[in-house]
Symmetry: C2
Subunit: 357 residues, 2 copies
């Protein structure tokens, strides 16, 4: 079913009169349906003052709806020509950022528009402001993630490797009603937790290790994403505890300043200043957060470079970390929603130091 | 390390003097290293008579090698301009099929080449002819898949759902030394097996059901892919057995004709004719096979439309199926290698009718 209100919000944000979207995430956003075109062309042409048109290979099927024209093509059809029948060749065509060269170059060669511009920012900015339906699904997805984190602790026992623990996480999510991962889970023990990009390997748990879970699931297509850092069988050393509490305070103080109209770079700065003043600034090596929705990483981030202001309906992560290899690698991540008057943290799992195992 | 022989084979297959590759699979093929650029630009410029150049965000790291120039850029750099410093703007630039519009359009606006063409077919055709190193890894990957299939049968017991069975497959692969899936496994019971695109759901196994596993793993980046159809607790009906044996014979007879120089459409036709003559032609609804390597589906297929001839070193699937909802959905798939004189089937798991559970 065409989500007309979302389409109109997109057209309000651009001066282009025709936009050809091919990103399955954008199509799901506008049509409520997932398409998996593989290497085949998939397009959704939205136009000012005309019905949108869905172009789809006849191997697939789209739900019928009166407000969209659906054009099926076959593998032997000239798809560029078919799309060209619907574009206004005297006007610019906005294409989305992911349109692959194998479709774009033939469209240019055939001049199906006067010129071609990147047109997907209007979609991205619209998707960054979640509506009520989306917010509710994001809340449920994060709630499942909270419950899953409680169970994941139980995966850590003597002799277990990161990979073994990670391989059990899918079952936890499925049993809680999620559809799957929003990204491959990170399970990192000890020094591995000091590499923010570490992927689970054959490292075996040892007493005193930090245990970092950076995990998320999908619920009715909407993602969760949370990180907690535990300690196995023994609490942190004095310095490790100081590091943990700095990360915690960077997370909580950054969250507290959230409300509509705050420059995203100021939020990053708040967390970064706390960690820097604690003496670990150089070990916080990434941005504070990223936007999220049906994709784990969506357009928009909480970084020093992003001067854009928060808006009610934004959902993004707050995930400060300190990666100090000899002592502790630690990250604490929540998802937050910007509300009309402030913010709502979607994750309820506590931030306290917790000894497990 | 630059795989120079592979690069030279690519340049022999094209008239273009400069090719900008951005597909991580192509880069792995040429550099033996995986890059995960996410939304950031990744490029490998190969040139006739000049060193190739790797463009990579400084957040990532590439192994040093003397035969490649590596250019790091940062998030605030003008990456289009940097690439333009290395291209010959008086010549055509070949780009690969997946280069997203967000990079291609700025390169065109800045005229870093005289014009832009799709240039990745030369890479795809080169990748379709596996070298000895690749063949050995593909053999191991399929051997693991054979062993895994033996264990997967044990997942089917009273009360189990497709999703539950599918959720255990990763553990089997990891325990056998694979790195992960080559694609999300398909487990389909009964009528669900008659939908070739079915994904595991909450369907519970019933006595007499067909049990279809379409599964594959990755070993040192190389994929396996095999399908077998079993019967749960009770053998097939007479008609189901006839269908099974037709599929089996389509598979085996198509395999027997493989050697260098056979048009791929003829291989498809062989299998299709057998199924048609058996009376089920309209229920074999897809092509006979696809090429495979580091990607589960690579360029090249075994279909009615592909008149290209097999070459020694090709590896592709042979996967006839009959999807006859009331009686049986069944597919039997192997990977095959075209050798100098004939073929080698990479899967050893038998084709016999097998009752499990």
């Amino acid at each position: 079913m065409l989500k007309k209100e979302r389409m109109n919000r997109i057209l309000e944000k651009t001066e282009l009169d025709q936009l050809l979207l091919s990103d399955p995430y954008a199509l799901f956003y506008l049509l409520g349906e997932w398409f998996y075109p593989g290497e085949r062309f998939l397009g959704f042409l939205i136009r000012r003052n005309a019905k949108p048109v869905l172009f789809i290979n006849s191997l697939f099927h789209a739900e019928e709806n009166d407000e969209t024209e659906t054009v099926y093509y076959s593998d032997t059809d000239d798809v560029t020509g078919i799309v060209g029948n619907y574009t206004d060749s005297s006007k610019i065509l906005g294409v989305d950022k992911i349109l692959p060269a194998r479709f774009l170059i033939p469209m240019m060669d055939r001049q199906i528009a006067s010129s071609f511009e990147l047109g997907s920012e209007a979609v991205d900015l619209t998707r960054a402001v979640k509506d009520e339906e989306e917010i509710e699904l994001m809340r449920i997805s994060s709630k499942i993630n909270d419950q899953a984190m409680e169970q994941m602790k139980g995966l850590i026992h003597e002799g277990v490797t990161e990979k073994e623990a990670a391989s059990k996480i899918m079952d936890i999510y499925l049993s809680l009603g999620a559809e799957g991962f929003s990204f491959d889970p990170i399970v990192a023990f000890g020094k591995n937790a000091a590499d923010p990009h570490h992927m689970p390997d054959d490292t075996v748990i040892k007493e005193g290790n930090a245990v970092l879970f950076d995990v998320g699931c999908r619920y009715r297509s909407y993602c969760s994403d949370m990180t907690r850092t535990f300690f196995y069988k023994k609490g942190p050393s004095e310095e490790a505890e100081r590091i943990y509490n700095l990360v915690r305070s960077a997370n909580e103080e950054a969250e507290k300043m959230l409300k509509p109209g705050v420059p995203l770079c100021d939020v990053d700065k708040k967390a970064r200043d706390i960690i820097s003043q604690g003496g670990y600034g150089e070990y916080f090596t990434h941005r504070l957060g990223h936007f999220i929705g049906t994709e784990d990483h969506e357009y928009g981030d909480v970084s020093q470079a992003n001067t854009r202001k928060t808006e009610a309906g934004n959902i993004h992560s707050i995930e400060p970390g300190i990666y100090f290899p000899e002592i502790l690698g630690c990250r604490i991540e929540d998802l937050v929603l910007i509300t009309e008057n402030g913010y709502e943290v979607l994750n309820q799992y506590p931030h306290d130091i917790e000894i497990i195992g």
